[in-house]
């Protein structure tokens, strides 16, 4: 476990749209900021569940694709170079006697003066394939995410899943891998018509309706045994890598053990977005108060309140109300 001793002004738990906007706004309030996100990507539900869907209730956008909104938030946030820690889930939060929070994740330790929880409906995890002995191959040649396509160059890859991502991944791998097989347990795919058309024209071998029943291999998966869904036909494939895209599962996880007041799976906050623990704030879908409405739009409104509350907590001489953004950015650009 590596030690990261820098004490950040604010650490944001959850890199969805509200966390990303909060990171931007923390930059506006001249706070050093770190985001901890449990998936290998930012964007929360929008990127994980419905990147292609249009959203119609974001102020100033008659309609915007979910992933495009995330890309815009990323660009906005990066103006202040926040520190981003992906693939880490916060397991423990402890307030030291000097008031600094110690956050222990599955991979590291972080220190922060304040914490903002923007974890939406909890941490997303890819759904694992349920097969006996699969844990022996975790971290070897079974993948639930593709970070680097080139890792699969020249390999025989089998992709499991029937949604957009599974089809997209199969198509992206086609020109790189030696051979791609896409396995789904029914004949129809839940992917965009265009993607399915592209799939038909590609060299990707489609095997439906099949489900995996056994993985064979000593140190890594060398063969995959498939069985026809509702049938008896069996096939065995020689593979170098297995990619599973069975969607995501979410859970509040360890958050409920941090001593926060929780009401019906949400963190109770006051009008300053303060939780019952001084120095910890919550915004977006994970927080609740009288009159709460769960929308990205309201989360975007809550983020600057939470950040400003944290700013005043860190520096009691600071104003809750910030200057106009035009003034702040002009000063920032003059300094740069």
């Amino acid at each position: 476990m590596s030690q990261n001793d820098q004490v950040f002004d604010i650490t944001i738990i959850g890199g969805g749209p509200v966390g990303m906007f909060a990171a931007f706004y923390a930059g506006m309030r001249q706070l050093s900021v770190k985001i901890i996100e449990n998936l290998p990507q930012l964007g929360g539900q929008l990127s994980a569940l419905y990147p292609e869907k249009y959203i119609y209730d974001i102020a100033g956008f008659p309609k915007i694709r979910a992933q495009e909104l995330i890309n815009n938030l990323n660009e906005q946030m990066r103006q202040f170079n926040p520190t981003i820690c992906l693939e880490q889930s916060v397991e423990q939060v402890e307030k030291r006697p000097d008031g600094i929070f110690k956050l222990t994740t599955n991979a590291d330790i972080h220190y922060s003066k304040t914490i903002l929880i923007t974890a939406g409906n909890g941490a997303f995890q890819p759904k694992k394939l349920q097969l006996d002995g699969i844990e022996n191959y975790e971290g070897r040649n079974i993948h639930y995410f593709i970070n680097d396509l080139n890792k699969f160059a020249g390999k025989r890859v089998v992709v499991f899943g029937g949604g957009d991502s599974a089809v997209d991944w199969a198509l992206m791998l086609e020109p790189i891998a030696e051979h791609v097989t896409l396995v789904h347990r029914r004949d129809t795919f839940r992917a965009h018509e265009q993607s399915v058309e592209n799939l038909k024209k590609s060299t990707v071998e489609v095997m439906t309706p099949f489900v995996p029943t056994e993985f064979i291999g000593k140190h890594q998966i060398e063969q995959v045994v498939l069985q026809q869904a509702k049938g008896t036909e069996r096939e065995t494939l020689d593979v170098d890598a297995v990619i599973v895209n069975y969607g995501f599962a979410t859970s509040l996880g360890s958050i409920k053990n941090w001593g926060l007041a929780i009401d019906n799976h949400s963190i109770v906050v006051n009008s300053k977005l303060e939780t019952n623990i001084e120095g910890i704030y919550a915004a977006g879908d994970i927080c609740t108060y009288d009159g709460k409405v769960n929308l990205i739009a309201t989360g975007f409104g809550e983020a600057p309140i939470a950040i400003s509350s944290a700013k005043v907590y860190i520096d009691p001489t600071a104003d809750m109300q910030a200057l106009h953004s035009t003034t702040i950015m002009k000063e920032k650009n003059t300094k740069a």
Binding site: Q45, A48, L49, Y50, K53, G120, N121, F124, K127, G162, G163, R185, R186, T188, R190, Y246, G247, F248, A249, T250, N264, H265, D285, N294
Partner: protein, 81 residues
């Protein structure tokens, strides 16, 4: 026979099941998912033609809120948990 019900306490209103199985699920006025066959009581047998869609929706639900059983739920989503 298969029966289904949505646990609205845990549903995160992501809309995945509405997209996958529109003959079974729609959203209620709060955006939570809702079984349209029996007003989310889990008492109407799901037509066999929809079994594949039901399985897909169950698979995709990120919060595990879709419950499926071979007996009626009688309005209690946690009946068989």
């Amino acid at each position: 026979m298969k029966y289904t019900i949505v646990n609205k306490e845990t549903c995160i209103a992501c809309g995945a099941c509405n997209d996958i199985a529109p003959d079974i699920f729609n959203h209620d006025r709060k955006g939570h998912s809702h079984v349209i066959l029996d007003d989310n009581q889990g008492t109407a047998a799901v037509p066999e033609d929809f079994y594949d869609d039901l399985e897909d929706a169950w698979d995709e639900c990120p919060s595990g809120s879709i419950k499926v059983a071979d007996k009626p739920f009688d309005g209690d989503a946690e009946k068989f948990d």
